[in-house]
């Protein structure tokens, strides 16, 4: 089962782990990304995620399908937040259940690495004295 969501309300880890429950799984790996309080020494006050929802869902679905084929995952759940987030709020959760636990870790790491390269979601970090679109410039 593939469960992909982009939400403007707080994310729930148990929603993702419940979505990948399987009586024959050997293990579930989960990645949780939260808002950091600083970037290169500057204090972050909040951040905003902007998403091109339709394409973001499509790209996340591709990642989930790759995981299913390449690592034989039973289930993949990927939830990404959008809108305004405060420090320590969850930005993304990825949960993967697989027949063998090693595959769960590999697949989960592949998913977050690829999400950060291909999924059209943009993060704007706000500081005391301004804001920047993350990773926009070299």
């Amino acid at each position: 089962m593939i469960d992909i969501q982009i939400l403007n309300t707080p994310l729930s880890i148990s929603d993702c782990t419940n979505a990948v429950k399987d009586p024959s799984t050997g293990g579930t790996a989960v990645f949780v990304g939260t808002v950091r309080n600083q970037t290169q020494g500057k204090t972050v006050t909040k951040l905003e995620f902007e998403s091109f929802d339709a394409m973001a869902i499509k790209e996340m679905t591709k990642i989930a399908e790759t995981i299913t084929e390449k690592w034989g995952a039973f289930h993949v759940s990927m939830h990404h937040r959008k809108g305004t987030l405060l420090i320590e709020e969850i930005a993304v959760i990825i949960a993967v259940s697989t027949p063998h636990r090693k595959a769960a870790f590999e697949a989960c790491e592949y998913a977050i690495d690829t999400l950060k390269e291909t999924v059209p979601i943009w993060k704007k970090e706000f500081f005391e004295d301004g804001a920047v679109w993350v990773a926009a410039h070299p």
Binding site: F52, V119, K124, A135
Partner: protein
Amino acid sequence: MEVKLVSYGIVRDILKEKELTYAVQGQTIGDLKTDLMSTFPELKRLKSLRFAVNQEYVDDTQSINDTDEIILIPPVSGG
């Protein structure tokens, strides 16, 4: 030909508008990119600028149709 551009993130800030009708000289995404960089020089400073049509990334050789809605995609930073 005139195409419809939709932009996100820092590109929207640079173009000042989320949606824009834009006159492009050439026939390909690569041509559009060249034109845009010249109209909006700030785009040259970005780490990357990708394009999508029908919710799929397209490369520079892709032909443009005047019915296309072309999405401008600056470096993504989700996660």
